[in-house]
Symmetry: C2
């Protein structure tokens, strides 16, 4: 039976981590994970699939060496401070922050794609990818493998408020209500501008090259996960008024020839991927149908008007809190557990 700790258990990702562990009781055992958070949340009781669980205050002493798997759903600075000590104490540490994703000595893992990076790089600290990257990667990896590699990609995102956690989702819901009912301008604290009935083409900090960190994460992380530094990628990351699923319009160019049929062929039966591609019958990926679902949906697959027989356009959508965060992390632990 695996001993599991979830640090940051009160957040949107933390809550999904509890659910994802419970769904894998057959692998991890019946005992609930131990939940940790800041002193502020200590003593709080979280209702979930295991019944009520009490949150403990996180201290290094309370966790290090005591668990098989520690999931960190905390800030980058928190992870920076504690993750290395936890990993060197013998726990597998799966960190959802961006703190270690770009360290050469830390594997960045989507388990269906590059689980082998864990053994190859060594150590017990594993980085969980950015949500937008992880969702797209599920659809793109089979395409990358089957068509001589993706050479260029243009990604435009339609990102949900959950990317800013529970406070982001609440701000969207409360703001929408106050605008619709009281005709008041929505208040914004989490987002730089009001999100209800708006979209905000800027997520995360501005970088020197004019892209945001969110946009560059998609480039940096796709290259690292695919093990291919040659992929050129431009991204525009846009927040839209949805709750918990990210969508992405992707145009890509491959080294080899590619057709919608060859894309469908390579995606067939791939775990974690659901093809939703019957636009004539109004079937395509959408936040509404992806929310709460494990699989990444792929559709609107068509020959690119720009890259011709070396390109396709497609649309992907996935639950940001699941494949984009909690599920991916738990699947890493599940695979490690199976590897024992």
């Amino acid at each position: 039976m695996a001993k599991i700790a979830i640090v940051g258990a009160t957040g949107a990702v933390g809550i999904e981590l509890v659910k994802c562990c419970h769904a894998r009781k057959a692998v991890f055992g019946d005992a609930p994970p131990a939940l940790f958070a800041s002193a502020r949340s200590a003593g709080k009781v979280l209702e979930g699939p295991y019944g009520p669980l009490t949150i403990s205050e996180f201290t290094l002493e309370a966790v290090q060496g005591k668990f098989d798997y520690v999931f960190l759903a905390v800030s980058g600075s928190f992870s920076e401070q504690f993750a290395p000590s936890l990993a060197s104490s013998g726990c597998w540490v799966i960190d959802n922050s961006s703190a270690f994703r770009y360290h050469d000595t830390v594997p960045l893992v989507v388990p269906e794609i590059n689980f082998s990076a864990i053994k190859a790089i060594g150590g017990k600290l594993i980085a969980n990818p950015n949500c937008t990257t992880a969702i797209a990667a599920m659809a793109l990896w089979p395409i990358h493998q089957a068509h001589g590699g993706i050479k260029r990609m243009i990604v435009s995102t339609y990102q949900a408020s959950s990317g800013a956690g529970e406070p982001g989702m609440q701000e969207l819901l409360e703001g929408s209500k106050s605008q619709l009912l009281d005709g008041k301008a929505p208040v914004n604290k989490v987002f730089s501008h009001p999100l209800p009935f708006n979209c905000i083409p800027m997520i995360d900090k501005l970088q020197g090259n004019g892209y945001t960190k969110e946009e560059m994460k998609v480039a940096w992380e796709t290259r690292k996960i695919f093990g291919d530094d040659g992929i050129k990628l431009s991204c525009t990351a846009v927040r839209i008024p949805t709750l918990r699923a990210h969508a992405e319009a992707i145009t890509l160019e491959t080294a080899g020839e590619i057709t919608p049929a060859s894309v469908l062929e390579c995606l067939r039966g791939k775990p974690g991927v659901a093809v939703k591609d019957d636009p004539g019958n109004d079937v395509y990926p959408m936040p509404l149908s992806c929310s709460g679902e494990d699989d990444v949906q792929v559709g609107r697959i068509r020959q690119s008007e720009v890259f011709g027989d070396r390109g396709v356009d497609l649309f992907v959508c996935g639950d940001q809190l699941l494949r984009g965060a909690a599920l991916n992390a738990v699947l890493i632990a599940e695979k490690l557990e199976g590897d024992k």
Copy 2:
């Protein structure tokens, strides 16, 4: 003093046409336009900037030969039936539908770009472009001219509910309310799926090549307006839960070298274009700041990670009912009036 008729005056675009005419009283004169609609709306009184105006039932006899400018804000099939007769009766007919946009004998006009096409092609029937196309074209034409021409473009849209007219906006508002207040699933009749807290990656009919007509319109119309059949363009058109401004993420490749600085330089002072490009201070184009504004906003201008020194990424946003429809049409008439 110009005699103006607005056909389809009760719709979202019709209402904006009235406002746009009123804002140009100095050009068109003080008299209000005559408003026409179907028999169902005849006798209805429309409140607007001219005060109350009564809607008359449209008949060919009531309109042909009696006006200088006839704005058609009606369905494509209605336009197909009546526009040619109206134009041959001596009225300038400016049609907002897609019925005649791809006819070689009908100019498709953004007045700041290709007003000269009206004289070059001849006739009195003028097509007003698709909203997504018209908004992007305002920003792209100066770039096209200053950089040896745009060779390739990838466009991902963030389109407002107003693209489906007043019923689309109402469906979004009512659905959002029922979801937020009563926890009920929103009803959808206008859109193929509920739009509140969702996005729908399909607008208009599916074409043989897997693109929707909305997506292909952007390619067909950009080529026609720019007079350049060589532009390769892939578009993904997505409906998002906003009210009346369309946004677009655009990656483009030019024949000549291009930089963010050269883009800013060529956009400076261009009528109808407002540069909003200071992301470090949270300034970028957004539906919230574009709604009700005449100018198309352009920002997030950065060197493309995919096309290098021949490419840029940018984000544009414009009021769908104004530059995307009513304003563009009225500016055509204004320019014709000035040309007299």
